[in-house]
Symmetry: C2
Subunit: 220 residues, 2 copies
Amino acid sequence: MAEEVILLDFWPSPFGMRAKIALREKGVHFDLREEELLSNKSPLLLQMNPVHKKIPVLIHNGKPVCESHIIIQYIDETWGPESPLLPSEPHERARARFWADYVDKKIFPAGRTAWRSTGEAQEAAKKEYIEGLKMLEGELGDTAYFGGERFGFLDVSLIPFYSWFYAVETLTGCSFEEECPKLVGWAKRCMQRESVARSLPDQHKVYDFMSEVRKKVQAQ
Amino acid sequence: MAEEVILLDFWPSPFGMRAKIALREKGVHFDLREEELLSNKSPLLLQMNPVHKKIPVLIHNGKPVCESHIIIQYIDETWGPESPLLPSEPHERARARFWADYVDKKIFPAGRTAWRSTGEAQEAAKKEYIEGLKMLEGELGDTAYFGGERFGFLDVSLIPFYSWFYAVETLTGCSFEEECPKLVGWAKRCMQRESVARSLPDQHKVYDFMSEVRKKVQAQ
């Protein structure tokens, strides 16, 4: 049976990028469908993710999988067992899951507040964002990837945020190269992978998008 | 080598209950250490979970695993492969993970707001809590457990909240038996398992605890 793999996506979303990277790491061909999340959501999205009504949604032979970390694990369990994203050892797996969860709980919300807000709220969020990135830099240590010599689950989880760095730096006034040079080195290394380079949007396009959203948020 | 398994816990926490249930389902002997979370945290907790400083923490031969759903998966991958908690089929696994994530994102915060607040905030949270439970009741359908005939990951994730039902009903004025009778039937079925019955605290003790917390929150 021919496989049907559809990904519902919205291009600036780091969560959508995760799914694209994981699919490309595994060499899975997929039909990428762009949603217009800020205006109207497609009937397919509402049907496939009625609970959260959010992208990304991976639809594999008609069955939906939602939530980006769950999607990465599904992809890892379904395709290419010879190139696993999660480590095989349970404690290493738990560690990768822990830090990926940390990205969602700390990095994403702090970054989002930092580029959308102003004044004290922005300063506090920027500080939290940088502290979070430094924690991750500590976890990286001196290895090539978070998965050691192998690009893995936590790399897929975090690298999408690199496409936001230029916008966050420009909108908040900081330099990630200065704050966490090793992490920026890791990001550049990841960008040399075709799976990542093809899945992350241009940083200037992200900046334009964020500037527009920021204007609307602040006008409210 | 003799295994050393320690669980740092705080008795009213549904997250701690998850870890206890999973360990007991797998027949793992463990040293349960109660934290005094509302006053001071032990040096061991601060050392083993320096990022979030929260229970539960499972310490297996000196190595920590944090975050309850990650702990359940670690337990499932480490002990008793003959009685798995997660299904073997990738789409079923994704589905169990999705709804467990839903419990953390929707059920826990709505319930927490419902029993701590008053007036309109309480009504809104109560409505959201009941709607969330009804969604889960729909997912359960007519099967014995969320895992079908087998007690599994999502059952472990959700059943701890049953120990809060009496307190939430009493403090907010509602009846879960009336609102979602099938879900209450499922909870009673789960309570017949030794792993669950031993891990859930007495509902009246939870009520007393919540009433005290509620008084403090409202005095602030």
